[in-house]
Amino acid sequence: MAKITMTVNGRQVSGQCDDRTLLVHFIRENLGLTGTHVGCDTSQCGTCVVHMDGKSVKSCSTLAAQAAGSDITTIEGLAANGELHPVQAAFKANHGLQCGFCTPGMVMTAVDMIRRHGGQLDEATVRAELEGNICRCTGYHNIVKSILAAAAEMGGARVAAE
């Protein structure tokens, strides 16, 4: 058993778990944050994506112990003051989900992608960047549309603020 302490969505949290406990199980079971999903459990589908120290990672392929001391953001940490994050709002506006199971991972991946590429994203880049996320409803078209809309919105907002 290990005592793990990390920052999750801006709050310092700690919990006891086995050294072999995966980060996704720590988040879901110890912290009760069930927005992060376990899809394939074999590192391929990306439903478990969270941000660790600002970068997207697969929480099903990372030990909670590896993440100790880090800063984690999950899907629950995106919306601020009751307002959807622009990426969440874009998924809603563009019907970027069907069954919704892959959506937390898609949204976290999109936020990371937009952070790295800014408003410069094009469709081919978005599709290439979605390599590690699988939508089994095959609803990629509207997912790509949502990400491009959010990137335009966020890129635009940044320009307006400068």
């Binding site: 290990a2 086995d18 050294d19 072999r20 995966l22 459990d41 074999t42 590192s43 990306g46 994506v49 660790m52 970068k55 997207s56 990672v57 697969k58 392929s61 990372t62 030990l63 112990a65 590896q66 100790a68 991946t109 990371d112 992608m113 960047e129 390599e131 590690g132 996320n133």
Partner: protein, 268 residues
């Protein structure tokens, strides 16, 4: 996953000490192969020694044309280094096509070469660049390091801490990715030095892991052009056959990927 004991190393010395104290221990870097393998119970190390945050194993430094990449440097950091992109864009491109963005944020160059997956990208780069693999106790030439499928010259408890190489005049890497796993079904890294020396390394295809192809090297030494490979034959007898591609298919891929790699190198 079977039970294990996690330790986080703070330095190279600390890592080696922790590993020595462990029973059936393993070093853990990004864990992008090791953790999934443990989840499938194909590996069951008693202890994991995490080296991902060891400061002296992280980062890229360039001095003249000598490049040093710390073993715990992620694929993302290799892919996004502007210094590396200016000196050896082939290795930046290689790193930017490993796995997916999430894997590239965790997976490291040291983990990849120590694992020596026969379909991994980095071993071909190390071999073609004539890189030196630095460990906690010695330096090993890439040509002596990769010894077989998932086999390396590393001794028990030996830790890869960095790799170094001289940036070449020209380098190119192209792979034919498995449509499902995206691992290289065949990948070819070509290097041409200022003095005309050429080294060509092939991953994903050899039944004994990464290897150099002397026929392609000779043809490219005579003429550095994709056309130079028109009459080169690739012997399929030592190549892998599996449900994805048989040996003759891979033999053809070796030639096609080599041509594309030279074309990519010439365009840089």
């Amino acid at each position: 996953m079977y039970e294990t004991h996690y330790h986080r190393a703070s330095s190279i010395q600390d890592a080696v000490k922790l590993r020595q104290a462990a029973g059936e221990g393993k070093y853990l870097s990004g864990g992008m192969t090791l953790i999934p393998t443990m989840k499938q119970r194909l590996a069951a190390p008693s202890d994991l020694v995490d080296v991902r945050q060891v400061p002296e194993m992280k980062g890229i430094s360039v001095s003249g044309r000598t490049v040093r990449i710390g073993a715990a440097t992620t694929h993302f950091d290799v892919a996004s280094s502007s210094e590396l992109a200016a000196l050896c864009p082939a290795i930046s491109g290689l790193a930017s096509h490993i796995g997916d963005p999430h894997v590239r944020h965790m997976g490291t160059i040291g983990g990849s070469i120590a694992n020596n997956d026969p379909a991994a990208d980095y071993p071909s780069a190390m071999l073609a660049l004539d890189a030196t693999i630095i460990t906690d106790r010695r330096e090993i030439a890439a040509g002596d390091f990769f010894t077989g499928l998932f086999e390396t010259a590393l001794e028990d408890g030996e830790l890869v801490t960095a790799v170094t190489f001289e940036a070449p005049a020209k380098a190119g890497y192209q792979k034919f990715a498995n449509p499902a796993s995206r691992y290289a079904m065949t990948g070819v890294f070509v290097v041409r030095r200022d003095n005309g020396d050429v080294r060509v390394a092939v991953t994903g295809a050899g039944s004994n892991g990464v290897f150099r192809h002397e026929g392609i090297e000779a043809a490219l030494s005579a003429q550095w052009s994709p056309d130079a490979l028109a009459n080169v034959t690739v012997d399929p007898s030592d190549l892998l056959s599996d449900i994805h591609a048989d040996a003759t298919y891979r033999a053809n891929l070796v030639k096609v990927m080599a041509k594309r790699a030279v074309a990519a190198a010439r365009a840089d």
